[in-house]
């Protein structure tokens, strides 16, 4: 009897469990996926904080057609395999839409899973062109594209910095290399051919031989496609070796963690990112709420907030359907008013208007560093 007791309990539980699932639930589950743990957890935190506050505010105002949003978190650690696992678990969880992922190398494989299940996916942060260029019906992004970002960086290097000898480094990741390639292509149109184009390995700590090599090549600008953990170490080791070249990178280093890794070397580092949404009048209330709760909504936090707003509005106007294609059709035809101002999408799922600008890190006193628009 004892031997079978456990099995019987399990069977009964499964039965009731299954019955429980059948009941139409009142909450609307929306997945938020990103690197919640791992080296890029700071960015995952931005996505979760932004989406969660948006959901809380929408819920406090009555939810979507009277139903509350429940945020379901998925941790992909910026690992493509993990991203597919998260996507599958979201599909099993019957989420209505997904905010995420963060790394392009995670967003792309995950989007295939969502596409099969016909679930709407909007990424607040993946900038690689391939995210929307593959013709999937229900993939959007509320950030810009790396070809646009690379153009701004390339123009800036050529016209403002008047660089002669440019080194381009990337981290061999979908995002990093894509961004580096976009900038490289733009520089070529200005007639600048890079003196060095090489890939480093994520997780490495020692870039001294690369720095020495750049010193030997007498580069005056270093362009880096990648994320702050490696960027911080490269710029720190470059300054240690007395290499004074201007360091410029993209949206992957927009976090205070970059400055804590780079230390004083962060001073004067440039990066491209969308015009700071924290300064927009539409965002003032939300920014205040974030700051009151003790969280600074930097980088992608408000992008994630905006993404949740767009999803909520699309669901509200379409009888809370989980039909990704139907939601996508609506989103492409609508202009949304969000905390980041008015947002409209083209037929691929990219924003119609993007606003990349160049930022500069500067010492803000007390050994801390902050960034401002140039």
């Amino acid at each position: 009897m004892n031997r079978y007791f456990g099995a019987v309990v399990l069977a009964v539980a499964l039965l009731f469990g299954a019955a429980g699932c059948e009941k139409k639930s009142d909450v609307i589950k929306i997945g938020v996926a990103g690197p919640i743990t791992g080296a890029y957890a700071k960015f995952g935190e931005q996505l979760v904080k932004g989406a969660t506050l948006a959901a809380d505010i929408i819920n406090a105002a009555g939810g979507i057609n009277g139903r509350k949003i429940e945020v379901v978190q998925g941790d992909d650690q910026c690992d493509p395999k993990q991203a597919r696992a998260v996507a599958n678990s979201f599909v099993n969880d019957k989420v209505y839409a997904v905010v995420g992922h963060f790394c392009s190398s995670s967003t792309i494989p995950a989007s295939e899973v969502y596409d099969e299940a016909n679930i709407l996916q909007i990424t607040p942060a993946s900038t690689n062109p391939q995210v929307t260029d593959r013709g999937l019906a229900a993939v959007f992004r509320t950030c810009g594209r790396d070809d646009q970002q690379g153009n701004v960086a390339g123009d800036f290097i050529a016209k403002q910095l008047k660089a002669k000898r440019v080194a381009i480094i990337h981290d061999k990741d979908t995002y990093g290399q894509g961004l580096a390639d976009a900038t490289k292509a733009r520089l070529r149109t200005h007639g600048i051919k890079e003196v060095l184009y090489e890939g480093i390995t994520r997780g490495d700590k020692d870039f001294n031989s690369l720095v020495t090599k750049m010193k030997g090549l007498k580069v005056d600008v270093i362009y880096f496609g990648g994320i702050h953990t490696e960027a911080g170490l490269i710029v720190r080791q470059a300054r240690e070796q007395g290499l004074k070249a201007t360091f410029i990178s993209g949206d992957g280093i927009v976090t205070s963690e970059f400055a804590s890794i780079a230390g004083p070397a962060a001073d004067g580092v440039l990066m491209t990112f969308g015009a700071d949404p924290r300064n927009l009048p539409a965002a003032a209330d939300v920014v205040k709420q974030f700051r009151d709760s003790g969280y600074e909504p930097e980088a992608y936090t408000l992008y994630s907030y905006t993404t949740m707003q767009i999803i909520a509005e699309a669901l509200a106007k379409n009888d809370v359907t989980n039909d990704g294609a139907k939601l996508a059709k609506y989103i492409k035809a609508t202009s949304f008013s969000t905390v980041m101002g008015s947002k409209a999408f083209d037929s691929k799922g990219d924003l119609k208007v993007t606003d990349y600008v160049v930022y500069k890190w500067y010492p803000s006193g007390g050994g801390k560093y902050d960034y401002k628009e140039l």
Binding site: G38, K213, L233, R236
Partner: protein, 303 residues
Amino acid sequence: MYILGQQLINGLILGSIYGLIAIGYTMVYGIIGMINFAHGEIYMISAYLFAIFLALAGVFGIDSLPVALLFTLAFTIIITGLYGFTVERMAYRPLRGSTRLAPLISAIGMSLVLQNFVQLAQGANDQALPPLYHGVLRLGGEEDFVQITHIQIIIVAATVISMAILTYVINNTALGRACRATQQDRTMANLLGINTDWTISLVFVIGASMASVAGVLITFNFGSFNFFIGFVAGIKAFTAAVLGGIGSLPGAMLGGILLGLSESLFAGFVNTDYKDVFAFALLVTVLTFRPTGLLGRPEVEKI
């Protein structure tokens, strides 16, 4: 010319870093013939302990950097020593005398446990230390110079000194004799009155203290760490130990420096993308011609 000099120095430093971690690996392997995969994790934990104790030193009002560093190093060694002892007691001793593979699996398990423990306890973010010290030795002109920072000099010195001390201890002291006896025939050593359990525990404590010396100095040098650094460092150090001949202390240092130099020179003069490919190709080549590594002795089948 100064570029070549600088790349050689870069390689020497990187190699010493690998060697410093590899010494702990090879030490444990030399005595009990087991690969302690948790070694990289002990190294990672010591990086965290270093940051914690350095902050504490500040709280206690220790202003002088060398004093603070010694204070930190001492406490880090004590705590990581305890980790080494506990890991051996919990994960390896119960499996002694079972199949050869059992402790290996247990070591991988221990490494995962420690990694996840630190991730949960300390958070998954990258942690960073501000640059505390800028001392540097430069040779050459205003623009073209070869440089080595004082911390890097300490790293190279620490590798050479700890290799020398441990070699001396193993070859010339009573403790070393006990270790060698334990390695050659555990039952016989027991019969002759050597406490082999105690000896093996001590070897693990020494291995862990080596990891903590490495953790403190390397963290001081690079200034950033996270819960995952033990894995990457462990792989490279293990490669260095195998290249030099696992079980041989001078071999660990030689293997480390060879690996560091080859990575550095390849990245510096050929291509950064393929530096790891080149380093591992070198390992394969060496092992093809010398299966026991550069300084390793062929294993004699015991009858």
